[in-house]
Symmetry: C2
Subunit: 142 residues, 2 copies
DNA sequence: ATATCTGCAAATTTTTTGCAAAAAG
DNA sequence: CTTTTTGCAAAAAATTTGCAGATAT
């Protein structure tokens, strides 16, 4: 998808969320879009800082909070004591290599059956779940 | 189980992990043992601070890190931007109510099959996984 | 006796907040 | 023109670290 088209999409995305289109927001969106890995606030700040129109760290945090509240991005915790963020898309989970830190995506967790069971047994309504796998990636097996 | 017996168990647990038995460590272990909910470092500190032999915040953090490294406790992230800890026991997961904050335990996630599939498909060796459910508990349904 | 553990104080990391100026629609 | 967003500076929250003295074995 061309950059022009992308920008149009971002504008629409923001408009649908009743948010104004600003350079900082576009920068955050496009950086998240370029990266398949979930990103920390700091790495987003670092990247946006190197742009034509750098943004303040507080602005980045506020943007991420707003996007998270609107459901535009997901907020993850991968055992690092800080948040990571990724664009909301197909539901998927992550394989985090405890040796090299590589993060892979994985889909089809098929946990919806279990969620229904929870609803019945515990009278708990599941809205979302977090599921992350920690271990060793193919490169770090030996 | 009587308190005497518990103390003996804690001593053994620590000895097996090549750790010295200290008042602060015993206090942390017994507070974790009294609580079924996973606890934050701060709440553990607060509790131990009210004891006959209060411990420094840094000591609490160091104890928790050590226990985590030894596998004595689990370190969880429940979407709060901080860690929580619980004694290692039967594998289980949590239902976190997004309305009142109540945390319930749940077992039998039956995800081992999926983990094997991951091993085959992605050549990733799963060592552990995190699985938490967020939603509404029975008291907060309406 | 010796290695481990703790307290204290200071620092680091991650995230949040108040307020006035700037920008978007 | 009005509401939202941003920058700046400061603060808060969570966690870590260095080092010297205290404690456990």
């Amino acid at each position: 998808m061309g950059n022009k088209q992308l920008m149009k999409n971002y504008r629409l995305l923001l408009e649908n969320a009743s948010l104004k289109t600003t350079p900082a927001r576009l920068a955050v969106l496009s950086f998240l879009n370029e990266n398949s890995d979930p990103l920390s606030a700091e790495s987003i700040f670092d990247h946006v800082a190197g742009e034509h129109s750098p943004a303040d760290r507080a602005t980045i945090y506020r943007i991420l909070e707003t996007f998270f509240q609107k459901g535009i991005i997901k907020r993850l915790e991968l055992g690092e004591g800080k948040y990571r963020y990724e664009l909301t898309g197909e539901e998927h989970h992550h394989l985090i290599c405890e040796s090299c830190g590589k993060i892979e995506d994985i889909s089809d967790c098929n946990i919806s059956e279990f969620e229904k069971e929870i609803g019945r047994k515990k009278k708990f309504t599941v809205r979302r779940h977090s599921l992350e796998f920690f271990g060793l990636c193919s490169d770090c097996q030996n």
